[in-house]
């Protein structure tokens, strides 16, 4: 546990020591705010579902930027071998990096709170769906981070990791679009988007929570296996 925490803190420090975290946060916040308010005053309904509605697409393109360096950089600079020989388990390394990224995302999401609070000042807001929306956003973000960490572990090239993460993330997102699920409803079960819709609406379903947790576990598990495989290279 303490090892995981140590890795996490190290990663967070490295994020905030570079401009990455701040750039990532401010751009994401700016876009979330812009996209939300673009329509808000045209159809002023005291509801922030539209804010959460923008998150799947924003996360698809933003979070890979955050995760691409996690393993690729270690590989490129050659610190990975040192890291793997340290007295800590591979899963601790993975979880440390995962939670560091997630922590950064949560901090960014906290900074979106002025939006629901402003809406609430205009008309009392039902905070149930807002809580659901944040829970969904965290789970959705965790899924993208898990995909990103995995692809970062299979290549030294950050750009390749970035592109692969976007591709796979987009795939798992867009298979949930109505156009696709109306023809192939099976895909809705595996879409990050479909699952997110119901949580952001204020319905917390154990199916959806389980989906996100197993999705994260799947990609972190795959990451674990790629690290195991490195021993045999």
């Amino acid at each position: 546990m303490s090892n995981t925490f140590a890795v996490m803190m190290k990663e967070i420090r490295s994020y905030i020591n570079s401009p990455i975290a701040f750039l990532f946060s401010s751009m994401l916040l700016g876009l979330i705010g812009y996209l939300f308010y673009m329509d808000f005053f045209v159809r002023p309904v005291a509801d922030v579902r539209a804010m959460f509605g923008t998150m799947p697409i924003l996360f698809t393109f933003f979070l890979p930027g955050l995760t691409m360096r996690l393993w690729s950089e270690e590989k490129k600079v050659g610190t990975l071998e040192t890291l793997l020989t340290m007295p800590m388990k591979n899963y601790q390394l993975i979880l440390g990096k995962f939670f560091a990224c997630l922590g950064l995302l949560v901090a960014t999401l906290v900074l979106t709170l002025p939006i629901p609070l402003t809406v609430n000042s205009l008309h009392p807001l039902d905070f149930g769906p807002v809580i659901g929306g944040y829970l969904g956003a965290i789970l959705l973000g965790a899924s993208f981070i898990a995909i990103g960490i995995f692809f970062s572990s299979i290549t030294e090239n950050q750009f390749v990791a970035f592109i692969l993460t976007i591709f796979v993330g987009a795939l798992f997102t867009f298979i949930g679009l109505d156009v696709i699920t109306s023809k192939l409803p099976f895909f809705a079960d595996f879409s990050l988007l479909s699952r997110f819709g119901s949580i952001a609406q204020g319905i917390v379903d154990s199916k959806d929570i389980l989906f996100y947790l197993t999705f994260v576990a799947l990609f972190l598990g795959l990451n674990f296996m790629t690290l195991e495989l490195r021993r045999w290279r």
Partner: protein, 650 residues
């Protein structure tokens, strides 16, 4: 093992583990999780929580059910939230449908074939107003739902309102999945009058029960039941409403008893006394003829009236010299039943906020006759009520001391039971007795027809009495008739139209104790004469009717299966004069739904779904909000980064 082989084995192992991980992921999410799950609705008003009744309805589907929403993609702003909400609710149906519920939302305008198909279903676009660049435009918009199950379908044509969506949808599902609903029987006061034609003298809304018949007919197959010639109550009737039973013969009581013994559900709206609105509230004593039967079942209606401090006021006009004044007089005979005096468990009343009863009598439950059945006391008066056998100021006179009622001391006042239901098995009142003979019915005189108001008394009549029920009631009656006609046209009685919204709330009677507005001064709208379809009458051959000449050869059923009997000591609430009052309407409808549809379907009552619209925000305020959120917060984050960078560099 060579290093190469070990490496190969490890790689293979990793791939196998990855594969198993993937298989577990797929199985968990597509096979196991959909069958074992719980959902928590975080919304404040539990907007997306569908009731257990709906859940079990969709969980128990034997075949696939398709719910298709027909919504235009571009809707006026006022309606734009509706398809989103409908989709959300439909997803709940899908979630609990175990793969048997398929939902789809399409825009008929986008596809010629779909448009033709929905037109065939009877779905038409609505003409809705929208504002387009400061111009009002009218758009043709589709906002309907249809439910398909095997070869059955049901259309919910009007989805422009979000309230009662679950109720209407679940009713539609009940209809398409269960081929036929039990019929409702209505046995009304033998001296009831038909609503008079417009401008015809002698309309007596206190003695007409047409509105309840018409309203129920929009949702159920309703038959008027006549048993005075010894007809058996038709077997297809599952629920019987007896409204103001009067002078029923022993044989009629027997038929009602046997109906209960067959498992029929019974609701009795009983009066011991009522007052004729058209004859200065002349007292009309009512002997139901069911006294012994009801007492046998454990109900006794006392031949008294309940008066309550918790009552309504009645606006009364009176002359004072040249002036005509209106005064709101307290009227303790019109009982205002508050929420706390209404049972919180039974679906018939638990969601009724308050209730209004007119000249109600005390009801008693005879414990020694209950025999272990479940008794639910539905409605009580307040504990500041008293009962009377002599009625002061029934016609609230403005002559000296008006509004005077003999009130007992505070300590002698009590709360009276006014409605109760018993659930369980009942023994026949005729167990071990002879089947009663059929008596030739006497021709009763209609109380309301002959009267008319003497012109001299016109100004003294309390308008609350005179008018209540008439104008709004007429509108509701017309609407109900129209609906019924449409329903009849559409199918042969079983295919119903969606539930009508309740009639307009009452004008004067339904206000708080404060001053009440004068009723409409227009001439009293007279309900139209209408020729009603009366299946029991029109097709006497359908029944096992035995003319009075035949000796009845009948076996007596001695014990009923589990059934329900509801007794309420007020029939005036169902009369056309009062039925337009929303709580009366809801009470009757809930009673019928609970008895007929059973289970908890009634729990799916309409709930208001309000779009939380923000009033127009001034442009300058909107600008600052946007600036702070879109620019301010990101700038704050960048500033933090900059400070961090400065600190690190120094």
């Amino acid at each position: 093992m060579s290093a190469k082989k070990r490496r190969f084995t490890s790689i293979l192992n990793s791939f196998l583990r990855a594969f198993f991980l993937f298989v577990i992921f797929v199985c968990l999410n597509s096979l196991i999780a959909p069958k074992h799950f719980t959902r928590v609705d975080l919304t404040r008003d539990k907007l997306y929580t569908i009731t257990d009744a709906t859940k079990s309805l969709v969980e128990d589907l034997s075949d696939n059910l398709i719910i298709r929403g027909y919504f235009s993609e571009e809707l006026p702003h006022a309606y734009a939230e509706i398809p989103i909400y409908v989709k959300d609710i439909l997803r709940e149906y899908e979630a609990y449908g175990k793969g048997r519920v398929e939902i789809e939302v399409v825009d008929p305008a986008r596809d010629e074939k779909v448009r033709e198909f929905v037109t065939g279903l009877g779905i038409q676009p609505f003409k809705l107003q929208d504002r387009d660049r400061d111009k009002l435009v009218v758009r043709n918009c589709y906002m309907s739902l249809a439910v398909f199950h095997l070869d059955q379908h049901e259309v919910l044509p009007d989805m422009t309102q979000m309230s009662s969506l679950e109720y209407e949808l679940s009713r539609a599902i009940v209809k398409v999945t269960k081929r036929s609903l039990p019929s409702i029987g209505l046995l009304v006061d033998s001296q009831a009058v038909a609503p008079a034609a417009p401008n015809q003298q002698g309309s007596n809304p206190g003695f007409s029960f047409e509105m309840v018949f018409q309203t129920l007919q929009t949702q159920y197959k309703v038959q008027k039941v006549h048993v005075q010639s010894g007809q058996k109550i038709p077997e297809n009737i599952g629920t019987l409403l007896i409204v103001r039973p009067r002078d029923l013969s022993e044989r009629e009581a027997f038929e009602i008893d046997q109906f209960v013994m067959r498992g029929g559900k019974l609701a009795v709206f009983v009066d011991t006394v009522t007052f004729d609105l058209t004859k200065n509230l002349a007292e009309v004593r009512v002997q139901s003829g069911l006294e012994d039967l009801l007492a046998h079942y454990g109900f006794r209606v006392r031949d008294e009236l309940v008066l309550d401090e918790n009552h309504f006021y009645i606006p009364v006009l009176h002359r004072q010299g040249m002036m005509q004044l209106q005064q709101n007089l307290p009227y303790p005979y019109y009982l205002k039943i508050n929420k706390e005096d209404i049972d919180k468990t039974n679906p018939v009343v638990k969601k009724i906020g308050n209730l209004l009863l007119f000249w109600a009598s005390p009801l008693e439950i005879l414990d020694d006759q209950v025999n272990g059945r479940e008794v639910v006391e539905l409605v009580h008066s307040s504990d500041k009520a008293w009962s009377a056998t002599e009625y002061d100021n029934v016609f609230p006179s403005t002559e000296g001391g008006f509004g005077y009622y003999r009130r007992p001391d505070e300590k002698n006042r009590e709360s009276f039971l006014l409605a109760a239901v018993q659930i369980g098995e009942f023994d026949s009142f005729y167990k071990g007795k002879e089947v009663p003979e059929v008596k030739k019915p006497e021709t009763p005189s209609s109380p309301g027809r002959s009267g008319g108001i003497p012109p001299g008394l016109q100004d003294q009549l309390p308008p609350g009495f005179q008018m209540k029920g008439a104008p709004g009631g007429q509108a509701a009656l017309e609407a109900a008739k129209k609906k019924a006609a449409e329903a009849a046209k559409k199918s042969e009685g079983l295919k119903e139209k969606p539930e009508d919204p309740p009639p307009a709330p009452p004008s004067s009677l339904f206000q708080d104790d404060g001053p009440q507005p004068l009723p409409n001064k227009d001439p009293v709208a007279q309900p139209e004469t209408q020729t009603e379809e009366d299946p029991a009458h029109d097709h006497p051959e359908d029944e096992a009717s035995s003319p009075s000449s035949k000796k009845p050869i009948r076996e007596i059923i001695e014990r009923s299966p589990e059934t329900r009997i509801l007794v309420i000591t007020d029939a005036d609430m169902v009369a056309d004069a009062n039925f337009r009052n929303a709580p009366c309407y809801t009470f009757v409808q809930n009673t019928v739904d609970w008895m007929t549809l059973g289970n908890e379907l009634i729990e799916i009552r309409s709930r208001g779904v309000e779009v939380p619209t923000i009033e127009e925000v001034p442009e300058s305020k909107a600008f600052w909000i946007k600036l702070l959120t879109i620019g301010g917060v990101p700038f704050f984050v960048l500033a933090l980064g900059f400070v961090r960078w400065i600190l690190r560099s120094s």
